[in-house]
Amino acid sequence: MAVDTSAGPAAPARPSRAPRTLPSGSVITTFLVVFLVVAGFAVDGFASSRNAGFLLLDVAVVALIALPLTLIVVTGEIDLSVASTVGLSSSVMGWLWFQGLPLELIVPLVLVLGAVLGAVNGLLVTRLGLPSLAVTIGTLALYRGLAFVVLGDQAVADFPRSWTTWAISSIGGTGIPNVVLPLLVLVAVTAVVLHATPIGRSLYAMGNSEDAARFSGIDVGRTKLWLFVAAGVVSALGGVYWTLRYGSARADNATGVELQVIAAILLGGVSIFGGSGGLLGVMAGALLLASVRNALQLVNVPSDVLNIVTGVLLIVAVVAPQVTGWARGRLASRPPG
């Protein structure tokens, strides 16, 4: 408060600066485009349609799970159990197939299971008021453990060819995997919900101030509960796809993927405290991580370096805005002349 005099001249400058703010995620998207162009020219085989197909196959599950998880992070919560839900869905899918059920019946059953798993998270967070970070560390262990209880260290791999080839083949030989189409539909639906509906705006409101959101008539508990259910269903869908893509149902499928998804979300500019960020940035973040991994593999850089790059990117992505904000603050508070 004592520095009011020095902050004084900066205050009127604020409103004029506001309209110049770029839409959320544009920095990371620019970065992605630049990287794709540079890698396309510099890395042999990166720009081939075959390679692009592989890249999209690799990013599919991360991008898919990132959709509901972005909404959850925007409300200020988190769900670390998503990859364990993938694993448990995969296990149950394998077990049911082993019991002789048809896949047409198994898939809806697994999606219902995902809804139940998500609802458990959601009820613990919204009804009991427990912190989602702790709850979902618990269910991360619980669901993964149940996956092992269901299938042990066995693998079920005799899924019908027609399903497994669909999962890895592309649309009429274009090199674009079949899975991209439904994924794009889900991305579009999520983007519309988050950025163009009252529901989406209420998610940002919750993330900024839960009390204010509640006082303005938003049913915070119910909205969050449904978000966790959605994350469960989508993760189960990811489990089905993962199983078909690798042709194998295993309890340890997708172990550790939750960190990749969260890295993509944070890299995409969503604040871990909620209330800001957008889906464009998240999708760019997921694509960037997968592209960097892919390009480094093509030039035979060991995967260790990739881990370093992922970590450093993540830290830079969150530190950079702080540093620029600090620098801007210094510039603004400097007396004119």
Binding site: P131, V135, R144, I272, G311, I315, Q322
Partner: protein
């Protein structure tokens, strides 16, 4: 205040009421820790009924050895979580420190054990310093920073392993002195476990009785209030990260001493176990409450579950599921206890008025 003077007979003086609140809180913490201890005793008791030889000397020593690493990590993590932060990089730090210690000993077999331990802790402290500086100076959420360093430090570790030409460090590479340290016992108790106990005692006393320790609780309960009351928040958080890093480094040395065979994947995925141990032990993930003893008991309980399930005839695959259920039960219990405490304190204040 004015109300207290008008009805002095029925109302305790305000400071006493505050002290009673503190006493209640203290009792709650004790009850909470006794609860985990009871769970541990119950688990051991049931397992003993199923297999009377469960508490044989060798079994107990194995249990202590398995628990030692997790106990050290949980004690360090407690300091960080109390300040309303978290360090997810500990598994990677353990891996780097274990590999560094192993390499040092393999290249210079004459290195005394103490120097090896200090070297491992120094590696860890450097990693902790990196985390702490980014968290405290750049004011970036620790969950994100340490997720980044989880990847980066592990990458550094495996890059080192793949370029040094020593993918794995075997028992034959390590000097006898260090291997003896790993297997040493005092009065039948493994030295590695005694080291872990010493860490818990030091961290526990520091958190309970030292000003710099108490201030960590203040920071975790209300960071803004802590800053306004003159606590050097940034410095305290930074030091908590450095100490936690050093302890993760120590855990790396213990890992090398215990297993004597290691590669650059040591400790992968351990971070969630560590946080789980702390949470089960009553350390609130939102900061402000918890103790090193509680976290250590949590680590012991998680380790014991892993070894007692097979004894109970249950498939070891149930372990993770049991741990998950335990975490949820622990935080639900904490929530109901603190809610009840808050209600009682509120009721007391109302009556006081």
């Amino acid at each position: 205040m004015t109300a207290t003077t008008t009805t002095p007979t029925r109302t305790p003086p305000p400071e006493r009421s505050g002290r009673r609140g503190a006493a209640l809180l203290q009792r709650l913490v004790v009850v909470r820790e006794l609860g985990i201890l009871a769970a541990l005793v119950l688990l051991i008791g049931i397992t003993l009924i199923a297999n009377p030889r469960f508490l044989s000397g060798q079994n107990v020593r194995d249990l202590m050895l398995s628990a030692a690493i997790l106990v050290v990590l949980a004690a360090g993590q407690t300091m960080v979580i109390i300040t309303r932060n978290v360090d997810l990089s500990v598994g990677s730090v353990l891996g780097l420190s274990a590999y560094a210690t192993g390499t040092l000993l393999a290249n210079m077999p004459g290195t005394p054990v103490v120097v090896a331990v200090l070297a491992g802790m120094a590696v860890g402290a450097l990693c902790g310093l990196l985390n702490g500086v980014i968290v405290a100076v750049a004011k970036v959420p620790s969950l994100v920073v340490t997720l980044g360093t989880l990847y980066a430090i592990r990458g550094l570790d495996s890059l080192w392993g793949s370029t040094s030409g020593r993918l794995q460090i075997n028992a034959t590479d390590l000097p006898t002195g260090f291997k003896d340290f790993g297997g040493a016992r005092v009065l039948g108790i493994p030295v590695l476990f005694l080291v872990a106990i010493a860490v818990v005692v030091v961290v526990g006393i520091h958190l309970r009785s030292y000003r710099s320790g108490r201030e960590l609780f203040g920071i975790g309960s209300a960071p803004e209030a802590a800053r306004l009351s003159g606590i050097p928040v940034g410095r305290r958080v930074l030091v908590a990260f450095v100490v936690n890093g050093a302890l993760a480094g120590l855990a790396g040395v213990l890992y090398a001493a215990r297993f004597q065979t290691l590669d650059t994947t040591a400790g992968t995925g351990l971070e969630l176990n560590v946080v789980a141990a702390a949470v089960v032990g009553g350390v609130a993930i939102a900061g402000g409450t918890g103790s090193a003893w509680g976290a250590a008991l949590g680590a012991l309980l998680l380790t014991t579950i892993g070894t007692s399930l097979p004894q109970l005839g249950l498939d070891p695959f149930w372990r993770d599921a049991a741990v998950g259920a335990l975490i949820i039960a622990a935080i639900a219990l904490d929530k109901s206890l603190t809610d009840r405490l808050a209600a009682r304190l509120r009721g007391r204040n109302l009556r006081g008025r």
